[in-house]
Symmetry: none
Subunit: 205 residues, 4 copies
DNA sequence: GATGAATGAGCTTTCATTCAT
DNA sequence: AATGAATGAAAGCTCATTCAT
């Protein structure tokens, strides 16, 4: 119990430090200074610098995952949209609640270490697969316009990442609700004003 | 003249190495090995590792910037869209042409160093301002639906980054044309099939 | 009483561990794991890692010493030889019986620490003095051929150490009796077949 | 050329330091202090601490090996003995000439590292095989008395190691010639005065 | 007396940068 | 201008020892 508490303290310190200085910028010295423990103590709880970092990634993945509810398609298009909005809002809220973890994930894109890279890549791959699956359902159900679901899944992920990164880095710039709502509207409707321009693909663009 | 050539050689070597190994994974040794020059020579042309990296960022910024043409709004909505498509296509093509630089920019998101961070941030800030300005024009001109141009600018940037990163990392996965076209369609139209669901904000979402 | 028992348990554990891993290879963790006691408990019974090691050396010295009987020279050459053989056999048997201690003594020759070194050196010094004394007696009594007793004492010690080390490390390679008998014969007679070559120093060698 | 010289300097420094402090007692700091070079310079010439040590072992093995001449058995027993004496004398002289290396080899018996251990063991194994082979020849040729050549080879190695270790540690205690001559006489003749005691195995011992 | 979490000095190794040639 | 050997600060990690419980 006590052990778990100590571990959590160090993990929190590491989270802050990694968020502030990045993986490479952070040293064990920074982490233990912040946690107020000795060098050896750190290694009592974590095998290595890399290992703490992975623990943080795992923690973050778990947080995100736990916000996503399976979508029930049986209750009609509007209900589906509402569920999507719920998922999106919860994820956004969770990330903005865990700023440091969010910053770590969104900053340290890749290139730390083979194992970390793999973790990140597989996380995003699963996320993309999830989105892509939902898109295919939407297309089949006639809710989503015909498109390449793989590319569009990338687009959705991209909007989320970029907007959230901004939300994390400049917390007071834009209200959370605005971010969530605008992401949704943008993803659903795109830029164009309905009926504003010619909508046939060939003619219009 | 000869000096400039030597400098370019080293810069190219650094580009390849950074793209392959990342900023921290790359050592001066890798760069000079690839460039075929001595250690000291490297420092004759560049102040530091960080400095070469900055030069590469600058080079990339310049490439991107040179692809973007000012949009002439006087020729009607369809013409504007055509110009936007032109800009987007040129940027996409340019990035996919300069894979290494693109990978560097999109991978080493941030966190290397205060000065580098500032460079990246200011680059993206200017890009966002550009997009935001265009959006405001679009909204005023009735082409773009009413929205928060700052958030939507982030969304657009996000889609570009994510799709391009995928395009760079898995060059043969999806054809360049598909990427460009899908980004455009997505940005313009969003996900929904026109008329597919109720479009009033209150009722629909 | 109980305290003494605990102490002995830890000492035995240390003996096994040092024999298996060597002084530097062994950690306190290994010893306490084997002894089944806590870290702090170890330091309740021994001041330091070095200290346990010294205790083991002392224990071993005592075992060896207790095997050596004073030689009675009054009963003629053959009886003396018989007594020497008795001493040698008992020492050899004792060492092979305490493999771990033997391995420790013979492996960790020297160089651990000033105090340990001194202990080892003084042990060997006393052993050598013992042997040397016996040699002088033998020379005076006409049993041993004229020689430098100090160097020859080293030779005798050397044969013992080397053969016993082999006996410890490869227990099943050569039978104990063979080892003991061959050491004795070798020490007494050397290599040459009696009468096989010219034995005068000047002529022969 | 210059590079080789520098390397030799560091190697010599390492030799001194290892001889003085032992493998574990010695730190890179000691070596570079003695060599008068910077930390990085050390690693320019040697991969690791272990690596320098191995180099020293190799160097020593080579020195020893180069002192041993193949024995020509065709010229009679006395000539064979003379050749053996020559080998022994050269080896002894070489070791006493390279005190530091000798001390390293004879002190750091074993237990440093798997690879080093293997090196040492294989060195001694080859040495033993050499001696054993010579003994078998001697027995077949009737020069050497019947004995177990494996055990006796250990005895010979043991006398050499012990006497040389003494010679290294206390250089001025006994003259080199005495050491060499006494080892030889001891190995050849053993302790007993010829004809001094009954030589039949059963009766005498 | 027993515990085991905590300690921190110390280790080997790396690598961006310098500078004598 | 070009070289590459030399540098040394700083990193991550270990482990014998201590001490509050």
């Amino acid at each position: 119990m006590d052990r778990e508490q100590r571990r959590t303290e160090i993990l929190k310190a590491a989270e802050d430090v990694f968020a502030r200085l990045g993986y490479h910028g952070a040293g064990i010295a920074d982490i233990i200074d912040r946690a107020g423990v000795a060098r050896g103590t750190f290694y009592l709880y974590f095998e290595s610098k890399r290992h703490v970092f992975e623990q943080l990634l795992d923690k973050f993945f778990e947080i995100i995952r736990s916000q996503v509810r399976r979508i029930d398609v049986s209750r009609g298009p509007d209900a589906v949209l509402e569920q999507i909005r719920g998922n999106a809002t919860r994820v956004i809220d969770a990330i903005l609640l865990h700023r440091s973890l969010g910053k770590i994930l969104l900053s340290e894109a890749v290139g730390l270490d083979e194992e970390c890279d793999e973790k990140l890549l597989s996380f995003y791959a699963r996320l993309l697969a999830l989105i892509e699956g939902a898109l295919r359902l939407g297309i089949d159900g006639g809710i989503v316009r015909p498109c390449d679901p793989r590319v569009v899944a990338l687009c959705i992920l991209g909007t989320m990442k970029e907007v959230l990164y901004h939300g994390i880095m400049k917390p007071n710039d834009l209200p959370r609700e605005t971010l969530a709502e605008e992401i949704l509207q943008y993803n659903l409707r795109g830029l164009l004003r309905p009926g504003g321009v010619s909508q046939t693909r060939d003619g219009g663009l």
